[in-house]
């Protein structure tokens, strides 16, 4: 079984982002970038499937520019077999990414696409479902457990108020939750070795001629901020405030 793992390069989750001065975009200059955390879980799961003898090859792919090579190096250092960088002029929307991924799937013919359930920058959580729809494949979303049974895979999904278990017929798209596993640490020697491995580069316009987004960002702003807390000194005072000032008791 061949596995495709898409990896998005996103602002590191510890960074406090802000709008650019003109309020039109998110300020990304000089900001620390990392692989999307959920994609690391997807990678980890793919590697475990290979270690268990269930997968034969793992291919990582990212859509971006040459700067995105770092997340592919990270994936190579973790242990993927090959890496593909698809050059895009402008970050496509989720549908655009799904269309590009579909083209990669046609080229690579994996049986499984393992991806993050959402990207922590735009939090759209759409790409995996869109890809599954475009391919006409079954989808397992928000997955916290994966178990292969021949040509079928049983997945446990996080749903509102609990979990649900589905059995999907391969080939499938699975989007993973953080709870699936704990990604391994990348050792420095591996990172050094990964620097030497080749990265295949493709051009997006050759894969899918027209991926122009019909979504336009008009502006970026801060949400309304809350006033700092009134600091109280006792539970009695708190109860008084909740009763008389806030009126919630």
């Amino acid at each position: 079984m061949k596995i495709l793992v898409p990896i998005k390069r996103v602002v590191d989750y510890n960074v406090q982002v802000r709008p650019t001065d003109d309020g039109r975009q998110v300020e990304l200059a000089g900001v620390k970038m990392s692989p999307n955390p959920f994609d690391e879980n997807a990678l980890e799961e793919a590697l475990r499937l290979k270690e268990a003898g269930l997968a034969t090859e793992i291919v990582a792919v990212t859509f971006g520019n040459s700067m995105n090579q770092d997340v592919l190096r990270h994936a190579l250092a973790m242990g993927v077999d090959r890496a593909i960088l698809v050059d895009v002029d402008k970050q496509p929307d989720s549908l655009g990414v799904a269309k590009l991924l579909k083209a990669i799937v046609k080229r690579e013919t994996p049986q499984l696409v393992l991806m993050g359930k959402q990207a922590i920058d735009y939090d759209a959580g759409q790409t995996p479902q869109m890809l599954a729809g475009l391919l006409g494949w079954p989808q397992g979303t928000f997955v916290s457990k994966v178990e292969f049974k021949g040509e079928q895979v049983e997945v446990t999904r996080e749903i509102d108020g609990g979990t649900e278990t589905l059995k999907l017929q391969l080939p499938v798209v699975i989007s993973v939750d953080l709870r699936l596993n704990s990604p391994r640490f990348v050792k420095l020697p591996n990172l050094m070795m990964a620097k030497k491995k080749p990265i295949e580069t493709l051009s997006a316009s050759e894969l899918v001629p027209n991926c122009e987004s019909k979504l336009k960002t008009l502006g970026i702003s801060y949400p309304p901020s809350r006033k700092p807390a009134q600091m109280l000194t006792s539970v009695d005072e708190l109860i008084g405030k909740l009763k008389n000032e806030a009126g919630v008791l």
């Binding site: 729809g133 509102d160 019909k214 979504l215 960002t217 008009l218 708190l238 919630v248 008791l249």
Partner: protein, 314 residues
């Protein structure tokens, strides 16, 4: 043109999150049609028929809709949605599973977790764990949206209103997914996402036993749901479905009590909409105090029993 809302129900009634989605659709100004998919849904349809602002109830009833699978539902919704200006649902796990797939089948981009509707084509949504808000304009032929329920007023049932019912022809598709089982925690407590009061705990609760024995009685006294941080969930103190935050449940109760929670942006992303926030933390510099209305620098294990005493006296 009209707006199609994809309904969620429990087999008897339409869920509150859907009533909020209809409230959002109403803001876009057009007649609203409600699509109900399921098996043995007569009571649900009867409930839906008297909902304000719903002109028509579309019913897709079949035994294979006993459990709803995205692979099965998305093509059905896509088939119907082409006649509409917009397709709207609440940002629940069901709609997050089904709507992006539907959007892809319609070949249109989608906008998730809409906080505000400025015009029928302009929306605000949170990005970066709700640290920023993006205003997005769409030139798509059909707007496919999931909306943040608690930002919109739910519609009510009305005695004087009866919507038209229309049965939908169901396409017969081969489905490569089998539903196996579901595990939902049965609890006397109110549901986290719609509770009026939420009591939440973090890693500092120390163990599963302490989490339950500390938060349980307080929640009982307040009629509250129990929430948790991811750190608490990962440590096994609380169940997955109690996680509040960017990657968990979004809550907006009248009162949110955060006990021993540091206030990371991933957590506050899920509770900042609460009307009144109380934070108890040992660390006076904890980030949680920046989003709280009332703060107590104290040991939660001292505070909770005192709160229980004071509430018992009330």
């Amino acid at each position: 043109m009209s707006i199609l809302v994809l309904a969620e129900h429990d087999g008897q009634k339409i869920k509150i999150s859907t009533l909020q989605a209809i409230g959002a659709a109403k803001q876009m100004g057009s007649p609203v049609h409600l699509l109900i998919v399921g098996n043995q849904i007569r009571e649900v349809v009867a409930d839906a028929q008297s909902l304000e602002n719903v002109d028509k109830v579309l019913v897709a009833e079949a035994s294979r809709f006993n459990h709803l699978l995205a692979e099965d539902v998305a093509p059905l919704v896509a088939m119907i949605a082409t006649d509409y200006q917009a397709l709207v649902a609440a940002h629940t796990s069901f709609a997050r599973d089904v709507l992006p797939r539907t959007a892809a089948l319609l070949d249109v981009a989608m906008i998730s977790d809409v906080l505000e509707i400025h015009s029928p084509k302009t929306f605000s949504r949170p990005i970066y764990a709700g640290n920023l808000v993006a205003m997005v304009q769409s030139e798509e032929s059909i707007q496919v949206l999931t909306i943040r329920g608690n930002r919109f007023s739910p519609v009510n049932n009305s005695d004087s209103h009866i919507a038209v019912i229309e049965a939908i022809d169901i396409p017969d598709l081969p489905i490569n997914t089998i539903w196996i089982s579901e595990d939902k925690q049965a609890s006397d407590r109110p549901a986290l996402s719609t509770a009026k009061v939420v009591v939440s705990g973090g890693r500092s609760l120390g163990s599963k036993e302490q989490f339950e024995s500390t938060l349980g009685p307080l929640a009982a006294n307040l009629g509250a749901a129990i929430g948790a941080t991811r750190a608490a969930v990962d440590s096994g103190y609380a169940s997955n479905e109690s996680q509040v935050g960017q990657t968990g449940t979004q809550v907006a109760p009248d009162l949110y009590i955060a006990l021993g929670i540091s206030g990371s942006i991933q957590h506050t992303a899920g509770m900042k909409d609460s009307k009144v926030i109380v934070a108890v933390n040992l660390d006076p510099d904890a980030l949680i105090f920046q989003v709280a209305d009332y703060g107590l620098v104290a040991d939660l294990f001292d505070v909770v029993p005192q709160l229980n005493n004071a509430l018992a006296k009330n």
